[in-house]
């Protein structure tokens, strides 16, 4: 049980996908200008990432590993993820127009979020089982959402700051992300017993 908790804590805080593992940075920088969009992106990513982690695990465990086809991982994972994204869009479009309005514009962007491919690959590397893979996927996307939302909050506040001209815009955002990453180093060791 506690090892499951440590998987989540590890993925959310200690080895945060964005700030420590450095995955999913493009959406992290790109859709963090407004709080609302950050929340939408976070929700969409959480859904796809968790699902993708599970499916990828199944494919790897039951299709690729038995046939010794490890080299097909990248290809099959990304193709499956793309499919999940498309089908998710399809399903929520049909079933919940409201949700579609909230998540719709983010879904297509997710395919090129490397966390979505990175997390399943990490799962393979970490020898996670199905449940752990799901948990790790969920934890990672939670970590992604958390930092995205916090970052958006800060960026909104920075809107009016008198930042030196060359640093205006992405430069200061990048530096802020650096401070965030520094702050998250404080969590180092909290998953020590894992």
């Amino acid at each position: 049980m506690s090892s499951y908790i440590f998987i989540v804590i590890g993925a959310v805080l200690v080895n945060n996908v964005v700030l420590v593992r450095m995955l999913g940075l493009c959406p992290f920088m790109g859709v963090s200008k407004k709080l609302e969009t950050a929340i939408g992106m976070g929700a969409a990513t959480t859904f796809v990432l968790t699902l993708g982690a599970g499916t990828s695990y199944l494919i790897d465990r039951y299709l690729l590993q038995p046939n010794d086809l490890a080299y097909l991982r990248t290809l099959s994972f990304i193709v499956v993820i793309a499919a999940i994204v498309q089908l998710t869009e399809l399903v929520i479009h049909k079933t919940s127009p409201l949700l579609h309005r909230v998540l719709g514009i983010y879904l297509p962007l997710i395919t090129t979020n490397c966390a979505v491919l990175g997390v399943p690959l990490l799962n393979v590397g970490l020898n996670h089982n199905l449940f752990e893979s799901l948990l790790f996927g969920f934890g990672s996307s939670l970590g992604f959402t958390l930092v995205l939302v916090l970052f958006a909050g800060i960026r909104e506040r920075l809107d009016g700051a008198d930042v030196p001209a060359p640093f205006k815009g992405t430069a200061i955002a990048m530096i802020t992300a650096g401070f965030m990453s520094l702050a998250f180093m404080g969590f180092a060791g909290l998953d020590r017993f894992h």
């Binding site: 080299y71 097909l72 180092a188 060791g189 020590r192």
Partner: protein, 220 residues
């Protein structure tokens, strides 16, 4: 526009094209795999051998080391709670040395994984850290690649040491009244490695014969 694209028709068409592309590119990939596979295998082997050579110089044995091993279950003394593999080096068919996996559970930032070589004389042939999370710039000197003293890495002090040179009661870092050097400000890492090495050595000395006697690939 001759005929209207119905959903089924389009699906079939796209599926077909998709299939074509997939086949072509998968074939390409598979081809690459075929070509590179031997090289990859060789590199992986070389990688593993490099580590083993660090722990046990190659002149000490003449068997195919990677094919001569036993599996062990969880061993508290080695810090292994999942079990591990022990390689057996032989020279002219005679037991020469063991290469153990060990884990120091009490590193500064978590576990430190080690590879430990012990020869039949109860002597450490070498130790290497295979995985650790000690603080960069502080505790990471236990890994010779990160050690600033490139010429004389800290971990080198364990080579050719047995309980004859350092009695078990003095098997500790100097700060704890022992015989081994450590680096100021990062005693914990040194202490963890030293203690783990000592435990591994004692364990190996005790079980040596049983380990060498077992069938290769068997489980103890």
């Amino acid at each position: 526009m001759k005929d209207r694209y119905t959903a089924t028709r389009t699906s079939l068409r796209t599926a077909g094209i998709m299939l074509l592309f997939t086949l072509v590119f998968t074939a390409l990939m598979a081809g690459t795999y075929r070509i590179t596979a031997p090289a990859i295998e060789a590199s992986e082997l070389a990688e593993r051998m490099r580590l083993i050579n660090d722990v046990l110089p190659p002149e000490n044995y003449d068997n195919v080391l990677l094919e001569d091993f036993v599996e062990v279950g969880p061993v508290a003394e080695l810090g292994l709670d999942q079990g591990g593999r022990i390689y057996r080096a032989r020279r002219n068919g005679e037991p020469a040395a063991l290469i153990l996996e060990a884990v120091a559970p009490d590193g500064y930032a978590g576990r430190i994984r080690l590879a430990v070589g012990v020869d039949t004389g109860g002597r450490l042939t070498g130790i290497r850290v295979t995985a650790h999370r000690e603080t960069p710039g502080l505790g990471d000197y236990i890994d010779p690649k990160k050690d600033r003293e490139r010429a004389k890495p800290w971990i080198g002090q364990f080579a050719n040491i047995s309980f004859a040179e350092v009695a078990p009661e003095r098997w500790a870092v100097r700060r704890d009244g022992g015989a081994f050097a450590y680096r100021i400000g990062a005693t914990i890492s040194a202490r963890a490695v030293t203690d783990a090495a000592g435990r591994a050595l004692a364990w190996a000395n005790e079980r040596r014969d049983a380990l060498f006697a077992a069938e290769t690939g068997s489980r103890i």
